[in-house]
């Protein structure tokens, strides 16, 4: 008999997973995907038990849960590609802030409901386009299948976020003002989504990921159509963009998230329950 423990593993063949030529940048790109989902998921989960109404509380908790699920898939694959035996938990709980390469947009404090919803909307609009491309065109089968899985869930995210942006933007005087303030606050953080670096260029060249700049037009068009409906004034295109998150240069907010999120594994290494 075999007393071997049951293993839960992926079996899909993917030439890129063991490709020495792109191992480092592929790992880096997968961490960015996972870190965006993880940090936004954590931020969104901060509403759990604090939502203004029960339905919103539940919706935000479910959204956060989906994002944490995406994190497990992206960081799990990142660990495999890296090939040093690190799994998704190791990457989530044992990296320092400078090793996190998420967009600055997702680490900003949750603010009020307007900031939370506006941030989710601006990110979802990008996330949906990115995942759609990856699911349909990525030459990495593992990336494509994760994207296809996540896309089904993110379709519900953007659907709901668009509805609420309109409801709050074209709502009361106060909700409109708060949504416009949230838009003005967050807009300068959206440019980073479309500005690629060497990592992006290598992945684009390999056919794994899209040219990020190429997504921007469609994103703007989608986002502006909802903002118009919401009677919100979208800033002019091409303004100032805060950059650095993808390279590990963060706002002061990320460290506090990690302090909370990583405390247990740092204080009690290897703890499980």
């Amino acid at each position: 008999m075999s007393g071997e423990k049951t293993a839960v593993t992926e079996m899909r063949a993917d030439p890129f997973v063991n490709d020495e030529a792109i191992r480092r940048v592929f790992f880096e790109w997968l961490c960015r995907m996972g870190d965006n989902a993880l940090i936004l998921g954590h931020r969104t989960s901060e509403w759990c038990g604090h939502g203004p109404v029960l339905e919103e509380d539940i919706a935000l908790a479910n959204t956060a849960l989906d994002l944490i699920g995406h994190t497990q898939m992206w960081l799990g694959l990142a660990g495999e590609v890296e090939g040093k035996g690190r799994d998704a938990d190791d990457l989530a709980y044992l990296r320092d802030a400078m090793k996190f390469h998420n967009l600055l947009l997702v680490e900003l404090p949750k603010g009020d409901m307007a900031v939370t919803i506006m941030r989710e909307f601006l990110f979802d609009a990008y996330h949906h386009l990115l995942l759609s491309w990856l699911a349909e065109h990525s030459k990495s089968p593992r990336v494509a299948e994760i994207a296809a899985k996540a896309l089904k869930e993110v379709s519900y995210h953007i659907d709901r976020a668009s509805d609420i942006v309109v409801r709050l933007g074209d709502g009361t005087e106060e909700s409109h003002r708060r949504m416009q303030d949230a838009l003005d606050l967050l807009w300068p953080y959206t440019g980073e989504m479309f500005i690629g670096d060497d990592v992006d260029a290598t992945l684009t060249g390999a056919g794994i990921a899209p040219d990020l700049g190429g997504l921007q037009g469609k994103w703007e068009q989608n986002v502006r159509s909802i903002l118009d409906e919401a009677t919100l004034k979208a800033p002019e295109p091409g303004g100032f963009a805060h950059l650095g998150g993808k390279q590990g240069r963060h706002t002061e907010h990320l460290g506090f998230i990690l302090a909370e999120m990583q405390f247990l594994q740092r204080a009690y290494p290897g703890a499980s329950w």
């Binding site: 008999m1 479910n62 989906d66 497990q72 898939m73 609009a125 899985k149 989608n222």
Partner: protein, 173 residues
């Protein structure tokens, strides 16, 4: 040397049909459509399972329950495989399971109505009808969505305008 007779995969499918979904125990994992393959690699049994929602906390429990059931049936050499593609869809929920869901108080999925993001919203805005969801209690289709999220990732919160009861709808994905 002893030769072990390996159970037929058909028998394994029958055993798996006894494993309930931990959150909706009236339906089994096979009825949900999440068991994608049962096969042997040599004398090792491999069961391929696909997650419903990627963050669903029930996924780990389901793996554990599948393992327990197969161990109980005498399977010693076992590997569970997580299969992501094709991604799970509610279209795979069997007819029997849909009837069980209804009698359990959960409206079953109306196929072909999964959200496509902003496109779905645009269709809604231009007057497209949403799914005709029948109230699992009184059967009326005079129902409305309260929220597209509910008590578990796979459900949405609805209410019936005829009998005024709130109910869960197993939403399409």
């Amino acid at each position: 040397m002893t030769t072990t007779l390996l159970p037929k995969t058909d028998d394994v499918w029958t055993w798996l049909a006894e494993v309930p979904d931990p959150e909706i125990p009236v339906v089994s994992v096979t009825e949900l459509g999440i068991i994608r393959d049962v096969r042997y690699e040599g004398d090792r049994l491999v069961v391929a399972v696909t997650p419903t929602y990627s963050g669903c906390p029930a996924t780990a429990v389901i793996d554990l329950m599948i393992e327990e059931k197969l161990r109980e049936k005498g399977i010693e050499n076992l590997r569970l495989e997580r299969r992501l593609s094709p991604p799970w869809t509610t279209d795979w929920v069997t007819q029997e399971a849909r009837e069980k869901l209804t009698s359990f108080g959960i409206a079953p999925p109306v196929d072909g109505t999964a959200s496509e993001g902003m496109r779905s919203r645009a269709a809604r805005m231009s007057g497209a009808r949403g799914p005709d969801v029948a109230c699992p209690r009184c059967g009326s289709t005079d129902t409305e969505r309260v929220s597209q999220y509910g008590s578990t990732p796979c459900k949405a919160a609805w209410r019936c305008r005829a009998c005024l009861e709130p109910f869960d709808y197993f939403k399409c994905i």
